[in-house]
């Protein structure tokens, strides 16, 4: 698409991809365990979440926590502590399982009553030389269908999420390319 930025930040503009901001916001709305996995409390909470039912165990295995039941039992009993690599895997698995579990509910809320109003806060131009600065306004838009966005987010498919989000912000009009990178995307569910 011609409006896409090729060399973002060349003149000092700062911001993050709109789709990344959306993913962050969705993660925030999904909530979850805030204690870090490195603390015993956080680790135990994640392990319980991932092993509570057979369905949860299957989902955890699909999400990359491919350890034997014996190891899981040892971790849960406190007989062994996971290595650093395992801790990362546990965190990753927890994130993706949580997303999958919350996605359906979140999607219903986002699509309810005619969609959700999204605020798009433009990128930060404070470091851009004056002559190169452009007027980029704060915009709001209503997003009616969130299915593709939430599905891509739940699957951890960042490219898919980016495509879905780009297709959404095209509705902003011919200047949508200015909103490919943003400081923040805000919405409630």
């Amino acid at each position: 698409m011609p409006q896409k930025n090729i060399d973002f930040g060349k003149y000092g503009a700062r911001g993050l991809k709109g789709s990344e901001a959306v993913a962050r916001k969705l993660d925030e709305l999904a909530g979850g365990i805030t204690t870090p996995v490195t603390a015993r409390r956080g680790l135990m909470a994640r392990l319980h979440y991932l092993t509570r039912t057979a369905h949860a165990r299957r989902a955890a295995r699909d999400a990359g926590l491919t350890v034997t039941d014996r190891t899981l039992k040892a971790w849960l009993d406190g007989g062994r502590r996971p290595s650093k690599a395992s801790l990362d895997r546990i965190e990753q698995a927890y994130r993706s399982v949580r997303r999958q579990n919350v996605a359906r509910h979140l999607l219903r809320r986002l699509n309810a009553s005619g969609g959700t109003r999204v605020e798009i806060h433009p990128l930060n131009q404070s470091q851009v030389p004056r002559p190169l600065q452009r007027v980029v306004e704060y915009r709001t838009m209503n997003v009616r269908r969130w299915d593709r966005i939430v599905a891509a987010w739940a699957a951890g498919d960042y490219q898919g999420l980016d495509d879905a989000w780009t297709d959404t912000i095209v509705d902003l009009g011919s200047q949508w390319g200015q909103y490919e990178y943003v400081t923040n995307v805000g919405f409630a569910a």
Partner: protein, 519 residues
């Protein structure tokens, strides 16, 4: 005739200068009408400082003078009763020789009292400054149905006008056009008929959302007050958001609900606090005046409701360092507070802080400190501002919302409607407490506003404490958002009642020196 018209307009232009009331009276008139200098200045097309000058040392001239006199006349007519009570030494400064000595005293109370009956039901107003009579052209002190004229035919030099009412005589028509038309602007007679400025406009409020909700809840629960109240409290937050949306229809600024938030405004842990100091007062006087005292604990009504009127940042907060305070912006500031030397009689405006050093305060606290350090109060040194996160601000963002809630509250109080009262209270208090990072209200994510509104409530309480202190009451305690303990006759300082400008008594107890206080 064209030649004569030109000459007429010239004559009118060099005619007598419009008389103005004394300078002090000018200000009083404006303040009585609750007009700001800026509003007056805008109407006259001058700067506010010019208006300030006219009310202080200077006099306008030329066409502006005429327009200013026109405005003051209109105001004087509105507040005729109050103006009559004041002597006007400078009121008559006509360059034209006064032929009728009695005319100079036109504005005196005796004259008006005697002429009050002569109006015969007409729209009779008395003028602060005599205007040319439409019939004879001599200064007249009253206006009937919009036309300045003498009420007593004996004062009037035109023989053709027999009585008070608007003269139908054909000769009178021309003097009206010549004497009154050109120097007085386009509305010779309509000046006092209706409100002209923005100050008088009726607020166009939102639909009666609150009343509808209460009626619906009562109908649903078949008049069961408790059940209806419980149901209303449950939906107070979404209803407040709906009311907010309703009040922002067609407004100049959008409510930006999800801006980027700097780290200082984020909670450090799930149950922790962020770094903002709200300056909550928690102060008890160390030493009471000698003797036993009756202490009254006063409660400020609707403290958070009143605090909704505050300078709120509109958009995303932007960082700046080393700049002086800009009163067009609002946000949070890292300051080093000044030393406070009045701890014995007044609470510290930044609250009960244990640690020294710089701290993040919000806009109301900073403005309070700046105000107290100014020449009018001179209570402390100015605070030192290190860093700020600010955005362009307005005080009117929640104004309609506040007024809608306040009106509903006032109506509920007069009608003794407990359900609406509870509902309104829940709406504004929950609105303030959940507008930050709360999961109960995800529509609005403005921790900065939450802190600013709370700080405004504390600053308001602080100013009330100062007012009590200045009026000679001994302030014993200032606590939380709405609690003020004073010794002395507080009724001459604060009005008692349930309105938001009034206070109510929470408690009364006796305290004596040495014991601190006894309940």
């Amino acid at each position: 005739m064209g030649d004569f018209d030109a000459i007429d307009s010239l004559l009118a232009a060099v005619g007598p200068e419009a008389g103005l009331p004394a300078r002090g009276v000018r200000r009083e008139l404006r303040e009585q009408a609750r007009l700001s200098k800026a509003q007056v200045a805008r109407a006259l097309g001058v700067s506010p400082s010019t208006v300030a000058g006219w009310e202080d040392t200077r006099d306008p001239s030329g066409e502006i003078r005429t327009r200013y006199a026109y405005l003051l006349d209109g105001l004087a007519a509105k507040f005729a009763v109050e103006v009559q009570e004041k002597p006007e030494p400078e009121a008559v400064q006509e360059p034209e020789p006064v032929q009728e000595p009695a005319a100079a005293d036109d504005a005196s109370p005796a004259y008006d009292a005697s002429t009050a009956g002569a109006g015969e039901g007409d729209d009779v107003e008395s003028l602060a400054v005599p205007e040319p009579c439409v019939l004879c052209g001599q200064p007249a002190g009253s206006r009937v149905a919009g036309f300045a004229q003498h009420l007593d035919p004996a004062d009037c030099h035109t023989v053709t006008a027999p009585g008070p009412g608007p003269a139908p005589a054909s000769e009178a028509a021309e003097p009206v056009a010549r004497q009154e038309g050109p120097p007085r602007g386009p509305r010779p007679s309509g000046r006092s008929q209706g409100p002209a400025g923005r100050a008088f406009q009726e607020p166009s409020g939102p639909a009666d959302l609150i009343g509808q909700a209460v009626r619906a809840a009562l109908a649903e629960h078949e008049g069961d007050m408790e059940a209806a109240t419980a149901a209303l409290l449950k939906r107070a937050i979404p209803d407040a958001m709906r009311l907010l949306d309703e009040t922002r229809k067609g407004a100049r600024y959008d409510i930006v609900a999800h801006p980027w938030i700097p780290d200082i405004l984020k909670k450090q842990t799930s149950r922790g606090a962020d770094q903002i100091w709200e300056a909550r007062p928690k102060w008890t006087r160390h030493e009471l005046p000698p003797g036993r005292h009756e202490v009254t604990a006063l409660d400020i009504n609707g403290a958070y409701l009143s605090a909704l009127k505050t300078h709120l940042p509109l958009g995303q907060l932007e960082h700046s360092a080393g700049l002086a305070h800009d009163r067009r912006r609002a946000g949070v500031h890292l300051i080093t507070p000044p030393a406070w030397e009045h701890e014995a009689v007044l609470p510290n405006p930044i609250g009960q802080r244990d640690e020294p050093g710089p701290l993040w305060v919000t806009e109301p606290t900073l403005r309070l400190l700046l105000r107290l350090s100014g020449p009018k109060y001179g209570l402390c040194a100015p605070p030192e501002i290190h860093e700020s996160y600010t955005s362009g601000a307005t005080e009117n963002l929640l104004e309609k919302f506040r007024v809608a809630l306040k009106d509903a509250r006032d109506a509920a109080i007069t009608e003794n409607d407990e359900v609406t009262l509870e509902y309104v209270k829940a709406m504004y208090s929950k609105f303030v407490s959940t507008m930050g990072e709360s999961n109960y209200n995800r529509e609005l994510y403005r921790p900065d506003w939450m802190h600013i509104i709370r700080s405004q409530a504390f600053a308001n309480l602080w100013m009330k404490a100062l007012k009590a202190h200045d009026e000679g009451l001994a302030v014993v305690r200032a606590m939380g958002t709405d609690e003020l303990h004073v010794i002395g006759d507080w009724r001459r300082v604060f009005a008692e009642g349930r309105g938001v400008t009034e206070v109510k008594v929470k408690d009364a107890y006796t305290a004596a020196i040495g014991t601190g206080e006894e309940e």
